[in-house]
Symmetry: D2
Subunit: 438 residues, 4 copies
Amino acid sequence: MTKQLKIATIGGGSSYTPELVEGLIKHYDEFPVTELWLVDIKAGEDKLNIVGALAMRMIKKAGLPIDVHLTLNREAALKNADFVTTQFRVGLLEARGKDERIPLTYDVIGQETNGAGGLFKGLRTIPVILDICRDIERLCPNAWLINFTNPAGMVTEAVLRYSNIKKVVGLCNVPIGIEMGVAKLLDVDHSRIRIDFAGLNHMVYGLDVFLDGVSVKDEVVDKLTDPEQTSFVKNIEGIGYDPAFIRALGVLTCPYHNYYYKHRDMLEKQHKEAKEQGTRAEVVLKLESELFELYQDENLAIKPPQLEERGGAYYSEAAVRLITSIYNDTCDIQPVNTRNNGAIKSLPDESAVEISSVITKDGPKPIAIGDLPVATRGLVQQIKSFERLSAEAAVTGNYDLAVTALAINPLTPSDTIARAIVDEMMEAHKQYLPQFFK
Amino acid sequence: MTKQLKIATIGGGSSYTPELVEGLIKHYDEFPVTELWLVDIKAGEDKLNIVGALAMRMIKKAGLPIDVHLTLNREAALKNADFVTTQFRVGLLEARGKDERIPLTYDVIGQETNGAGGLFKGLRTIPVILDICRDIERLCPNAWLINFTNPAGMVTEAVLRYSNIKKVVGLCNVPIGIEMGVAKLLDVDHSRIRIDFAGLNHMVYGLDVFLDGVSVKDEVVDKLTDPEQTSFVKNIEGIGYDPAFIRALGVLTCPYHNYYYKHRDMLEKQHKEAKEQGTRAEVVLKLESELFELYQDENLAIKPPQLEERGGAYYSEAAVRLITSIYNDTCDIQPVNTRNNGAIKSLPDESAVEISSVITKDGPKPIAIGDLPVATRGLVQQIKSFERLSAEAAVTGNYDLAVTALAINPLTPSDTIARAIVDEMMEAHKQYLPQFFK
Amino acid sequence: MTKQLKIATIGGGSSYTPELVEGLIKHYDEFPVTELWLVDIKAGEDKLNIVGALAMRMIKKAGLPIDVHLTLNREAALKNADFVTTQFRVGLLEARGKDERIPLTYDVIGQETNGAGGLFKGLRTIPVILDICRDIERLCPNAWLINFTNPAGMVTEAVLRYSNIKKVVGLCNVPIGIEMGVAKLLDVDHSRIRIDFAGLNHMVYGLDVFLDGVSVKDEVVDKLTDPEQTSFVKNIEGIGYDPAFIRALGVLTCPYHNYYYKHRDMLEKQHKEAKEQGTRAEVVLKLESELFELYQDENLAIKPPQLEERGGAYYSEAAVRLITSIYNDTCDIQPVNTRNNGAIKSLPDESAVEISSVITKDGPKPIAIGDLPVATRGLVQQIKSFERLSAEAAVTGNYDLAVTALAINPLTPSDTIARAIVDEMMEAHKQYLPQFFK
Amino acid sequence: MTKQLKIATIGGGSSYTPELVEGLIKHYDEFPVTELWLVDIKAGEDKLNIVGALAMRMIKKAGLPIDVHLTLNREAALKNADFVTTQFRVGLLEARGKDERIPLTYDVIGQETNGAGGLFKGLRTIPVILDICRDIERLCPNAWLINFTNPAGMVTEAVLRYSNIKKVVGLCNVPIGIEMGVAKLLDVDHSRIRIDFAGLNHMVYGLDVFLDGVSVKDEVVDKLTDPEQTSFVKNIEGIGYDPAFIRALGVLTCPYHNYYYKHRDMLEKQHKEAKEQGTRAEVVLKLESELFELYQDENLAIKPPQLEERGGAYYSEAAVRLITSIYNDTCDIQPVNTRNNGAIKSLPDESAVEISSVITKDGPKPIAIGDLPVATRGLVQQIKSFERLSAEAAVTGNYDLAVTALAINPLTPSDTIARAIVDEMMEAHKQYLPQFFK
């Protein structure tokens, strides 16, 4: 008789769910899940049914004994779960659209996890995640909470500081994407690449890069600064960096660093895209509706390739390798969002950081790096301050803190603009921000 | 017989010198200087003679036995000095003008101690100050180096890291200016005000404010956020802050914070001023020429009141109270730039910080604050990273480091603009940057 | 009309009280106390009346308008107090006698503030001090708690960690005693000596010694290691140190260091004294009874000189200079037990340390030292661990923690002996340790 | 054609060498060594020849293409080596005998790696290891130095602080021994046990114990404190701990902790053993001569089982699993002595610690633990101070430092006894301590 192994996926009606299901099927030998509970809210019921039906067809086709449950009852889903994954979006893509559009009207970056958008996504999401944490405490206190919900760094910080849940990991597909990009750049299989990651979510650096255990960082940096290689650089970096800068910085950046190191270019790009093709939320909304069209096809029993365009590349890979390693006490190294615990000296021990960690059944154990390179320390500290103030504002409903969180963000041009944006966005997201309208 | 007490002032031909002389006269009882050596370079000889003659007249009028020496021979000036003060400007106001004008053409803040201007002032100044340090080691190893030369934080950092001189203090009139402003705001004598300062030069915060030892921070913050008080706020802050921001920040800022917290406004202001009245260097050039006109008046034997407009308010006060306290082992509290030594947790022990310190004959001893408030930690870390990279670039002549120092500065819109500005400014200041043109 | 200024002294019947009263009289101009409340427990009523009557005679003789109140009602004493001083001894000298005698029967140092004696004095005292803290919170929330009760380091640690009182300072006469000894050694007035103290209570080091602000540490160390000077060394150190040791240690030690650096000699000395003249408690008991004999003399209106033999030299000086500096926001430097706040890097921010601090109306501000010299870091860390475990045991009544606190103490020869001593002393002090006998 | 893979073993004539050879044979598939150079000094030539001949017979029997070279020429041995292992003993067992005997005459623990013995073994060994480091820099700069030479913590500290070699790992069989003991206690295969180790060499704690990834620390502690289990406890601990102590300590100790937590018992045991069977050096001397008798048997081609009694249990296992993991970039977790790098907060970043680390081709990466449990922090800090002073004394030949290193060691009863022991041992080991007799 098989031991029960239950996953509860909150936001199960997400278009990403087939990614997760594909991963579970592929890794069934190492991680023999018996029950997969997809749970969503009333407003997401239709999508839940569509994506749930597809999940069932995929599992049936794979011939695996995994029971799929679709439910709007979060308590039932969480009861005795071994792993809880979260991938919900409070306010759906409509809210994301506002996060992107409103700041732009102030000539300020509008992005879902950075700056004003990140702040408001955090303000909407954190009370919900803390509510889930209280349910977990009660219904499945031994479960691991694997959070994919953005802004993942801020959300993990909030769980670590404001809940009683210690078994939490924040996960993002950015680091695995960098690994894949480097493997492609060097034309080697990605299993041969290892990168020492450290920093914060969407603000993570690759401190060193190893091919079969030997540092190839200088070679990678050379290639990144080689104009002949620009097509690849675009894949990792979006826009090529100045060679002098990237050489002296001495580390790999992540795509989200563009918002900071190429602030002006990114702002222009956003204005242009918003005018020509719509903001990212608007593009994704269209992609999603096409995806759900596909998902409804009763002959479809695999993850459709079009999902990759949605932006979740390697999501399945990252998610399932993390869960599998925890389950099996694999002790391999993966970059995750976890409690710093002294691994990065200039950040608080109790804060969430994104860092290469050994993944054990007892959770991720961050590898000590001493401190970040001098040139990267400031930006990381600044974003951590932003995350902490935002999380505190989300929990307390303190308006002044929300303004100040935004005012100290490096993407914000002034305190008075911060306040104007906060005022407009508070009103726009009012229904999801009860803590500020008591 | 009086014991010799010798001050050597490098950049002695500066228009500020009468400030210093006035202070020495006023505090002669506590600090009975016997020799004042004003030393300058060949290019400054005329000014040195004018200002030196005024200094002599001032001392004569005061009836004090202080010998004033004017010289172009730095070795003679340093020989056996007890205190060395530095107040020179490599490249004079002409160079400052370029520091202000060139960045503006890229739509970037042009300011003498922040951003691109701060970087290039550092690149020009640091090799000279390290050269002076080597002379001090040889000629007056027991002397205290009191550095007023900007960017004072970066310069002090460079002396601490790249010279053998340990007896160095960086001094700035910004903190004393804030004290005076608060005293005026509360309508009390400034001797009754004490502020716990911590941060970096031109990036210093007032963590708490005491009137007769009792915290009045909340009252001061209330007044700062009171629209009725805006006229005063302008005195301290330049531009009023949004009350929500200043309340949640919970500390006093310094005027230079405007470049960061009011970035867009300050940039507009600079463009406007540059067009209408010229940059600050251009305004100061005019003021200086008027001042030297006055200084030449052989009937003048006091510091002329017009000097205050020059921008060095309380300079004399700050300088002489520091020197006097060191000399007399007074053990009073003053805000200075000194080795952190663990006083601010998230900054390196060996870095320069601007912090309230006990002033002893053995130097300033910083008072431990634990760590800076969360909301202020990021910006401070970022500027410290900028200062460290700039200082290293100045010492090594490493071009990539210079680009990267500027690229990570929060006032810089992108790495490629950083490079363009560095390229143009390197060329413009070429004669003062031999380390980059080997 | 004079503003009320009220001191409440808990353990007011102590033989030390005339010291305090003398200090208050001497410094009345700077610290115009209006009410002195001496409070004690029922068992101390007789002593309270004797010493209280003496206090009244002293004040009357001085012609000062200070009202002295004698009471067994702690609430009345605390109500609206400005300063609360504590100098009580739970279990009186009889308990101290057990702290000294019992360990010796195991061939282990028996001393009131170190090792087993220190542990049990802490276990008895901490619940009482925390009870007082709760009263202070309720009755005089703005008062400063000045704790003289030993073990002062452990008690201050407990108040900082386990009460809501933040306005607490632990005070000891050891540092002032070292200052006086050094002044005598150099034959100068002690006002010309300043010592940079850092460490823990009864484990404090003099990191540097200044005469008129100039370091004379090497000279002092030379004298301390000069055999011709042994008579003095005995004054400071009890027993002379080996010159090689004291030179390489490079700092001044305190008398209590003998228990560690001269462990074997001190143990022999204790055995000998216990046999020949009785333990310290027994000697003091005799001294005290002589003192109270004197105190009853109705013609006595000054502190009798015999009190000095009691062991509290400079106690009055230390106490009153602290209270006066807080009251007047003097900002002078004094060595006190206060929250570390990062001043000593290898100790926790939130722990109590004994360190040179600036004394303000807002409390002591420790001066950052970076870290202790390598050679001293281990012992300090060990005693801090001992203090923390002892305090936690005192608060929780956790027997295992009490055993372990003693087992890790450097004066303890093994865990099993630790347990045997704890068992015997628990029984001996049972009536004062209700938390362990629930 | 096989790539060359060369090991140089300094002190190759050691009786332990067959352990290493056995390991290399067993793991040849993962680590295909081509050359094994055994190097020793002239005085060890006979042993080198005996043990070298045995090594050759073992390899021949295994049928592996490993060339064994025996040499007195260290330069030849090091030239282009990939791994350098060190297992030498300056002064041989005769010197160890003195390290054990002399302190005992002062009624002080005499032990080869702790207290006075550890100090003098360090003073003799460190100059030699630093000399080897200089050779490595010149002859095989890419080699990994795997140091087994005791005192391994102090030696690794010295290499990290006083050489240019960064590729160094100190290795000890104590942690693996604890793992084996726990496996036996739980009656499971040791591959299922993982322990989070942290501390210093011969002062390492098991912070948590996992069986198949699930914490079983409480169960292990229960068994360790169960009187029925004493026979096992002896295996791990030597002497059983008091249950109250071990419960509140909350971590696993190592056998060497007995010298501290059971100081008095161990001292008595040493006196008894010295009288009855000789010190450990004397016992080992006898064992070694029996071993070399066995090794000379030309029919012997395996590691003789008697070697296990010598004390190096699991040495082969620990050594070869480390080298193999470095060579293959295995990224498994092993406890090693490496640069702290912030992994243990209260110890310096640049100091050697013994800690569970991920073993990569780029070296060990310590896993961040935050800080050690409060109860263990003091002793660890004290031993680190002892190691640092000892290493500095070894490098500088500073006599005062040597005295002070011993005086601050927790096994030393006083500074004057420290000096007396140092004086006698300096004389006894004079020929190996040229740095002190210049």
